[in-house]
């Protein structure tokens, strides 16, 4: 066995997994606060990446201006989605709400095709091209720097949720909606904030992923991998999303490298199936007690 090769593959996988963790975080924030499973997260990522393309490519802004703008655009989109589509569904069955997000995904794809056409696109380069070596291990620069940017946002998020007022409100709402409400927390605002923050994480990840792999209206399919991540980690566990993100990213890449690209999805979905049978609420998720 070529351990150097294995090391490099693993590193590439983990770097990608870091981005999965970031998207997973966006997913979990929304789920924790609002109990909505957002099947459109891949399309929100895509939308932000197209915004970046518009700002940095079409309008020829500096990528470092375009990136925050695109991410901001993605978060605004999240907030609008919550207001327009999710809020009217309060109290409906979770199946219905999920279907709303599936419908939303289709709408976003249509809008993107309308605005940018169906052609495949490449984002303007904004990450350094110099190869990155960790000891002897080679790592593609895009994913290395992508990982760093993603990890930074992740850190900021974790600190924010730990210490800020908004973070506390979010956590309180997540743990007990009724109690949070009675404590004077504006639960509706928190719902909206959760969508904004969740979409923000997804948007940044979207731009970074599109920067490495390219962009097209089919980009949203990456959401499937994220779904695996959050189910394996546990829908309501931030830690779970991060660990599962790294693991799934690694597994996908290793399976792809050693077995072939057609094994990437089956490999991760096999893990998903095992988790569903053994620990349906995920590795780190909370098991809810049912009552009659």
């Amino acid at each position: 066995m070529d351990w150097l090769f294995f090391g490099e593959i693993s590193l590439a996988g983990l770097a990608m997994g870091g981005l999965y963790g970031l998207i997973g975080l966006g997913f979990v924030i929304i789920y924790k606060a609002t109990r909505v499973i957002n099947f459109a997260i891949g399309e929100i990522m895509m939308f932000a990446a197209y915004l970046f393309l518009a700002f940095a490519g079409g309008m020829e802004m500096s990528p470092w201006v375009a990136l925050p703008l695109a991410v901001l655009g993605g978060s605004v989109l999240g907030g609008v989605i919550e207001k327009v589509m999710i809020r009217p569904m309060l109290g409906e069955s979770s199946i219905s709400v999920v279907m709303v997000t599936i419908g939303l995904a289709s709408i976003l794809v249509g809008l993107v095709e309308l605005g940018w056409g169906a052609d495949p696109q490449l984002l303007p380069e904004f990450l350094p091209r110099k190869p990155v070596f960790l000891g002897e291990l080679y790592l593609a620069p895009k994913i290395a720097y992508g990982f760093l940017i993603g990890a930074t946002l992740l850190l900021v998020y974790l600190l924010y949720f730990r210490f800020s007022r908004g973070g506390v409100a979010l956590r309180a709402t997540a743990s007990d909606q009724a109690a949070a409400y009675s404590m004077g927390i504006n639960v509706r605002r928190v719902f909206n904030l959760a969508w904004v923050f969740g979409s923000l994480a997804a948007s940044l990840a979207g731009v970074l992923v599109a920067a490495t792999g390219g962009l097209s209206p089919q980009f949203g399919a990456v959401g499937l991998s994220v779904l695996v991540v959050v189910i394996v980690g546990g829908l309501d566990s931030i830690l779970g999303a991060l660990i599962a993100g790294l693991f799934i990213g690694w597994l996908e890449t290793v399976a792809g490298a050693y077995l072939g690209g057609q094994y990437r999805m089956p490999a991760t979905f096999a893990v998903l199936a095992v988790i569903l049978v053994l620990r349906p609420y995920g590795l780190f998720g909370t098991h809810e007690i049912e009552r009659v």
């Binding site: 090769f5 996988g13 079409g58 390219g214 097209s216 890449t253 690209g261």
Partner: protein
């Protein structure tokens, strides 16, 4: 971006206005003869739309041109199409609708899936000859698909042309090595088995074989595999753009001097437009001359002037446009031969006319006279990207497989 969006809209408006004009223009040209209908399931939307709009433009412009030349033996040509979204069931619906209300001797199919699906219906009708966007190897099987042909080499033949080119580049006794990178789709897997057999036959070693999803995927791990296999040539198949760019950029970052090549749909100018300087040196196999190539010929000139006339702002026309035009050219030739022989326009007669094509001069669309073999045109040429000129330049002679 808004500017580009706008120009794109205008360009498309141009295509459309021609299509509309055609409805009214055709009867004027009619010389009291029954029009000949070119039918088409065209993917104006969906994953293949980037090509579909240009295929549509190519077919439209050709129709206008041939009508300006007096049609086919005095029969005016009418092009009737419907958007399919690149979905098989909608393509079939379009076929039924168009063939239901017209007599359609020739038809454009938008995907291999559609071509295979419609085959049984086509065979039992025996009225229509079909070609289209697909270069699938399977369609050259005349037993199963007697009424379908390929407007160029099939994918296996494209691999053959590429491998012949590669073999020619080897120093004496020292054959280059090659790696195949293809997408996990029907399209992607089409020529791989045959390609490996052909390589083995020619003594070219396939040192690595990589399957990926098409489109936006992270390929860092696959690049690492190629880094170890160190092929002299990497042949891409089953992609439009991504992840070809990422393979090329990352492998060059590693300091590898691998030569990258691709088949028809991976050899559009889109690659240069999107990748810029990174595309330099990329090679593709192409059966038609590029719109902006230095080559000439009466038909190529006609194409250029017609394209210019229909949309003066469009400038360069992509390979999909050439492909659409060439399809219509072959249809015209086949219909003409059948009419000249005094035969009815049936599937069998049209197929026989197609099979009779030998050393046909395409007027510069293809640089050499072509001969139909097994319902395909097994000819092509290797082109290389000159990023500075933003164009493909020929690096080989025309290779005509036997």
């Amino acid at each position: 971006m808004f500017k580009r969006f706008l120009t794109r809209g205008l360009r498309l408006a141009g295509i459309g206005s021609v299509a509309a004009a055609l409805m009214t223009a055709a009867p004027v040209l009619a010389q009291d003869k029954e029009p000949i209908v070119f039918g088409g399931s065209i993917p104006l939307s969906g994953v293949f739309a980037f090509a579909g709009v240009h295929i549509h433009a190519g077919l439209t412009d050709y129709t206008n041109w041939i009508n300006s030349q007096g049609g086919i033996n005095g029969h005016p040509v009418r092009y009737v199409m419907e958007d399919t979204g690149y979905e098989v069931d909608r393509s079939v619906a379009a076929f039924k609708k168009i063939t239901g209300s017209n007599r359609v001797p020739v038809y454009y199919g938008d995907s291999t899936g559609f071509m295979k699906t419609i085959a049984s219906e086509l065979n039992s009708r025996g009225t229509t000859l079909m070609s289209g966007a697909s270069f699938a190897t399977a369609l050259t099987d005349n037993q199963t698909y007697p009424y379908q042909f390929i407007p160029g080499p099939n994918y296996t033949q494209m691999f053959g042309i590429i491998l012949e080119y590669i073999a020619m580049q080897g120093q004496e006794g020292d054959k280059p090595t090659v790696a195949f990178v293809y997408s996990d789709t029907e399209f992607g897997k089409d020529p791989i088995e045959n390609g490996k057999a052909k390589a083995a036959e020619m003594g070219i070693k396939v040192v690595e074989e990589i399957v990926t999803k098409p489109g936006s995927v992270d390929v860092s791990a696959e690049v690492l595999k190629l880094r170890r296999a160190r092929p002299d040539y990497v042949v891409f198949h089953g992609y439009i753009l991504s992840p070809i760019n990422e393979f090329m950029v990352q492998m060059r970052q590693m300091g590898l001097d691998t030569q990258f090549m691709g088949t028809f749909w991976s050899s559009d100018k889109l690659i240069i437009d999107r990748m810029g300087a990174d595309a330099d040196g990329y090679m593709g196999v192409m059966p038609y001359n590029y719109y902006d190539s230095a080559e000439g010929g009466p038909m190529l000139e006609a194409l250029r002037s017609q394209a210019q006339k229909s949309d003066p702002d469009a400038g360069y026309r992509p390979t999909a446009y050439m492909q659409g035009w060439f399809n219509a050219m072959v249809w015209t030739e086949v219909v003409k031969r059948t009419l000249d022989a005094g035969k009815e326009l049936t599937g069998d007669n049209l197929a026989a006319s197609l099979a009779s094509i030998q050393d046909w001069d395409t007027g510069g669309i293809i640089g050499v006279p072509v001969t139909v073999r097994d319902m395909s045109f097994p000819v092509g040429r290797i082109w290389r990207v000159n990023a500075k000129e933003a164009s493909y330049e020929p690096v080989s002679d025309w290779i005509h497989l036997n």
